[in-house]
Symmetry: C2
C-alpha cells in the first residue's frame, strides 16, 4: 500500500532524529517573513550572496539584516564562508534535508493520512 515513495520513506535516513527543541528552534527561525525572504534570496543567487546584496533587496538596515542572517545561521539553515573582505552565505542543503525529514516525521505523528496523502488522491 505505498505506490510512490512517501514522506515516511524519506524520514529514516538521516542520523539524528531531531528533538522537539531542535525542530522548534528551526521553526522559530522560519517564523518571520523577512527570514523566509532572505532564504529565497540566497537560494536564487546560489552561493554568491553576501550580506550587502541581501540588504539591498530588503528595505531594512544592514544591522537588522545581519541579525536575521545570524538567526538563520544559528538554526543551521544557512552557512557562512568567509571570502576575502566579505562573507558569502548559502543555504545548507543538508539541514534542509534534515528538516524535511523531521517535518515529515512530525506531520506523520500528527496525522498519518495527511503526511502520506499520495496514497489517497481523493
Amino acid at each position: 500500500m505505498s505506490p510512490g515513495v512517501s514522506r515516511a520513506s524519506i524520514m529514516r535516513r538521516q542520523a539524528a532524529p531531531m528533538r522537539d527543541d531542535d525542530i522548534a528552534n528551526i521553526m522559530r527561525a522560519l517564523g518571520h517573513p523577512v527570514r523566509l525572504e532572505i532564504l529565497r534570496i540566497l537560494a536564487s543567487q546560489q552561493g554568491q550572496c553576501c550580506c550587502g546584496d541581501v540588504t539591498e533587496s530588503l528595505t531594512l538596515a544592514q544591522s537588522t539584516v545581519s541579525q536575521h542572517i545570524k538567526v538563520l545561521l544559528d538554526a543551521g539553515l544557512i552557512e557562512r564562508k568567509a571570502q576575502g573582505t566579505r562573507n558569502r552565505y548559502c543555504i545548507s542543503h543538508d539541514k534542509l534535508g534534515e528538516l524535511n525529514s523531521a517535518f515529515g516525521g512530525l506531520l506523520e505523528g500528527l496525522a498519518p493520512l495527511v503526511a502520506s496523502k499520495e496514497a489517497e488522491p481523493a
Copy 2:
C-alpha cells in the same frame, strides 16, 4: 525523471497558495516545544481532548496551556468544538494538509533537490 509522487505533486491541489506571512505565522506557532507536545497529545487522543487533559500531562499552569492552545487555534492548526461545560480540541487535518503543501513548496523554492530527494537516493 520522477518515479514516485513527490512533494511537488502534493503541492498543487489546495486553493490558496499561502503567503509568507501565513507560513511564518504557522511556523512561529510550531516554534515552541510545548506546542509541539500539545499537538501530539491532541493527535493521540483524537478529538477527545479538553484543556484540562492537556494541562495534566504538562507541568504548566492551566492558563499557560490555554494560551498555547490559543496560539495553535489562531494559527488554524487545531479546532475547537464546545461541548457542554468543556471544550474539545482536535487537530485540523485540513490545515495540516495546507501546511504540508506550503512547506513542500517552500522547500522546493529553496532547494529543489532536497524537496524531491526520492529521485536521488545516494
